[in-house]
């Protein structure tokens, strides 16, 4: 079946089907959120439209990525203890590489922090993103490993 959304979907048919469900569920939740927000807007006047719009984007993205992470369909080939431990190391090195490369690009192309507070800000942001990335990847890996082990 051809659709413009195909480029966002994986080649594996099971994963493709699950992803379509996640996108559809996300779209319905987004629709309901908009309805609730319209009702809320009639009761309390909402001034900051930009934040509300960003909230909708966040709801959709969090729902779809959350469902993807806990479904255990990301690491389809991790079924042994050895490959599981190896993948944890890969996730750790990928996260560290991202933090280091982002920091270097930031310093080269954007700005070199001028005081201690600015250094704290950029380091804190990068560390938070790195930790969240590692934890979400770890949860996804753990769920995939558990699911794959049961299917052997």
């Amino acid at each position: 079946m051809k659709s413009w959304i195909s480029f966002l979907l994986p080649d594996d048919e099971y994963k493709e089907k699950r992803m379509l469900y996640f996108f559809s569920e996300g779209a319905i939740i987004l629709f309901l959120s908009v309805i609730i927000m319209i009702i809320c807007n009639r009761i309390f006047t909402i001034n900051d439209v930009e934040i509300v719009l960003l909230l909708f984007v966040a709801i959709f993205l969090l729902y779809v990525s959350g469902r993807y992470i806990i479904s255990g369909i990301e690491y389809t080939d991790i079924a042994t203890e050895h490959s599981y431990k190896k993948e944890i190391k890969n996730i750790f090195s990928r996260t560290c590489s991202f933090v280091v490369i982002f920091m270097l690009l930031y310093l080269i192309f954007l700005d070199i922090p001028s005081n201690r507070n600015e250094w704290m800000e950029i380091t804190g942001l990068l560390l938070s993103v790195g930790i969240v990335w590692f934890i979400t990847s770890f949860i996804s890996l753990r769920r995939s490993y558990k699911k794959n082990k049961e299917l052997l």
Binding site: D11, D12, E13, Y14, K15, I73, T76, D77, A79, S144, K147, N148, L151, L152
Partner: protein, 66 residues
């Protein structure tokens, strides 16, 4: 849906990974099909049947289940 995929695969001494690679899906998908937790498309059923040298009846027809 119950099926004979696992039995026929083991008879051919094939791993889940090998079958998955040959039919163009992931090992997880083959595992789910074997456990009856995912109903594959007709296209994938035919691909699996061809790889295992069996007919669709041998693999998926209720009366032929082992």
């Amino acid at each position: 849906m119950k099926n004979n995929v696992k039995i026929m695969r083991l008879k051919m001494s094939m791993t889940q990974e090998q079958l998955a690679k040959r039919v163009g899906v992931t090992r997880q998908t083959i595992g789910l099909i074997e456990k009856g937790e995912y109903n594959p498309s007709l296209q994938l059923c035919v691909a699996i049947a061809k790889e295992l040298n069996k007919t669709l009846d041998d693999l998926f027809w209720e009366e032929n289940l082992i």
